[in-house]
């Protein structure tokens, strides 16, 4: 037994000493080393939508700006502040926090670490501008409006559905209301079913694909033939469920044609938030020393029709381009307020 302890002691000591001999991790506190850290919302970095898009923007900074990059996955909402502090204490130059829910902790951390630039995705800064915080926000209502219009033009039953995470998160709510408004803009007679998974906590509302699929199925029973799935994995489930049942599906955040191969043949389009370029642009601005505090508006749009291109009539395509242009130049308004009244 004594021998065992001896072996264990040697191993533990070796484990303590060895890392020092390996390749040294770059010291982020140094002036010339540019480090970017990303803190996810509850959920995983490979969620095929939100966190992943943000991470790709950070990875782009790694390859194009030579940044040292790292991420921390949040497993519990109570850890937001702790995870942010982990990066800040190590001397990271830029910290990207992903998601509306991290907004409060990001703003709270900013004054403590004045030398760190914070990029808060989906975190509006209407409360007031902090010098080292930039909120990357998107006109989700416009993206939702676009796919809502598309859905209303493509439906044959006159009924379309949308399955979302929780309406307590403003960007998700804006997608939902934009969708409703877009469908009504094309034809007020089109029935729009909008269902939120608000019956569970924040930690579960975006990670429930099975619920998403069951809800999509319920809408299809009700006659809907186009389903928009918005909200992390819950939305992914709705998209897959809809595609399985033979309805048209619409994805969210990124072009989900590439992330949901099983649904791809029935995927009409995706309501996109161009998170990746938005994140990259902000990191670049931070590096160049021209970091924009306050709200920073990213772009929103809709994804190509891919496999269903031949199913979408030319006049629908033309109308979509017309609406997109009108939303961009401001001649068409979605009339969706930034937060739920």
């Amino acid at each position: 037994m004594k021998k065992l302890y001896l072996v264990l002691t040697v191993l533990v000591l070796a484990a303590l000493v060895l890392p020092a001999c390996g390749p040294t991790t770059p010291d982020c506190t140094k002036e010339e080393v540019f480090c970017v850290g990303l803190v996810t919302d509850v959920g995983k970095i490979d969620d095929k939508s939100f966190n992943q898009s943000a991470w790709e923007g950070v990875k782009q900074a790694e390859s194009e700006l030579g940044a040292i990059v790292q991420y921390i996955e949040t497993t519990d909402a109570k850890d937001y502040a702790k995870n942010i502090a982990t990066f800040a204490d190590e001397g990271y130059d830029v910290i990207v926090t992903v998601g509306f829910n991290l907004g409060v902790d990001t703003r709270a951390a900013a004054p403590t670490y004045p030398n760190v630039k914070f990029i808060g995705i989906d975190q509006d800064q209407f409360e007031g501008t902090i010098d080292n915080v930039s909120g990357l926000v998107f006109p989700e209502d416009q993206a939702g409006f676009l796919v809502g219009a598309l859905a209303a033009m493509m439906t044959e039953t006159g009924k379309v559905g949308g399955v979302f995470g929780t309406d307590a998160v403003p960007p998700v709510w804006r997608f939902g209301e934009g969708y409703r408004a877009g469908a009504a803009y094309i034809d007020p007679a089109v029935e729009v079913f909008v269902v939120y998974h608000s019956d569970v906590g924040f930690d579960k509302t975006f990670t429930d694909p099975e619920w998403g699929a069951a809800t999509a199925k319920s809408m299809i029973d009700q006659g809907a033939d186009v389903i928009f799935g918005g909200g992390g994995k819950t939305g992914n489930g709705a998209v897959e469920g809809a595609a399985q049942a033979g309805a048209y599906a619409i994805g969210v955040d990124s072009d989900q044609y590439y992330t949901l191969p099983n649904a791809a043949p029935r995927l009409l389009s995706s309501a996109m938030k161009l998170i990746t370029p938005g994140v990259f642009d902000l990191i670049k601005l931070a590096k160049d020393g021209s970091f924009p505090a306050g709200n920073f508006y990213g772009d929103a749009g809709y994804a190509p029709y891919h496999d269903l291109d031949s199913m979408v009539p030319a006049e629908v395509k033309a109308k979509m381009e017309e609406i997109a242009a009108a939303l961009l130049d401001g001649s068409l308004k979605t009339n969706v307020p930034p937060v739920k009244p």
Binding site: D46, S218, G241
Partner: protein, 371 residues
Amino acid sequence: MDWKRFGFIALIIAVLFTIVVLIGGKSQPAILIISSMLGTTIAVATPLTLGALSGIYCERSGVVNIGIEGMMLAAAFFGWLGAIYMSSIFGFQALPSLLVGLLIAMLTGGLFAALHALLSVTFKVDQIIGGTVINILAVGVTGFLNRQLFFEKGSIFGGQVPHGPGTFTTIYIPIDKAVNGLCGLLGSDCSVAAKAASDVLSQKPIAMAAVLLVVVSHYILFNTRWGLRTRAVGEHPKAADTVGINVTFMRYANVIIGGALAGLGGAYMTLESIASFEPLMTNGRGFIALAAMIFGNWTPFGAWSAALVFGASQAFQIKLQLFRELIPAQWSFLQNAYVVGMVPYLLTMLILTGIIGKNIPPAADGVAYEK
């Protein structure tokens, strides 16, 4: 049989359905609403039923299993992975790939359960801790492998999830033809009702298997020698041991059977409901399944009916949001999804208070057997 309990449960489900029909009946035939709600109910109830059956086998033999969640998650992942390997790397057709996936899912559940049995029966570790270990282990293993295989650019699948074999297809039960034929003889038209009936009865294989397993489990537990021995080691292992029943063997066997059932529940998620895996996708269903088991007083039929209550309340909640515009003003609080989401949990607590009959867990549940 505990008819009071079943009556109570049937009443709850009937009330939930009636409210929706009263609200939505203006815009749609009642029969369509009911068949759609039944569809959602069965879909939501399937993994819960299987999870609850898993709990029943474990706890009836005296081992508390809170690791069902982890067993389901791991099985969902490995089953799906097996199916993907079969179809995209070895080039098999969809159905054989899915069947292999199903088998792997059940084996995974069984293996995790064997670990739980090892910890709690052989090493007599606190069974709650053992279950917690399983849950944490499953989250870690599936998350790690999922990332290594599919996410990073240098991973085996090169950062792309391959096109999988899809899901099991619905088994069509031609009840509509029978009903139509019968109605035709009577000279009336009931094609809507016929279609609704066939929509409800035509389910995918795991959903059907779940119902079948409820019946089979009831028979095994209460009508066979195996069941009697299982219950004996769960109620009074010492007595069972004195008459020559191998307590350790019975506990191992039942925990592993339970694990395989939880594995089937996991397979439902990735091979039947949707055709992809997402980290953490079980989302607490293993724990809700335990609630269903308790709700059903550790009996298969009780647990099944409890799972149906959970399913019905989901269906209720979804349909209310669909009929949002039709809800009368004085009932507008029902529009808040979380109000409705509480229903099954409130009911569970109500049942635990013993209003509709006592809940009696197996006497030696959670106690390691010392010779």
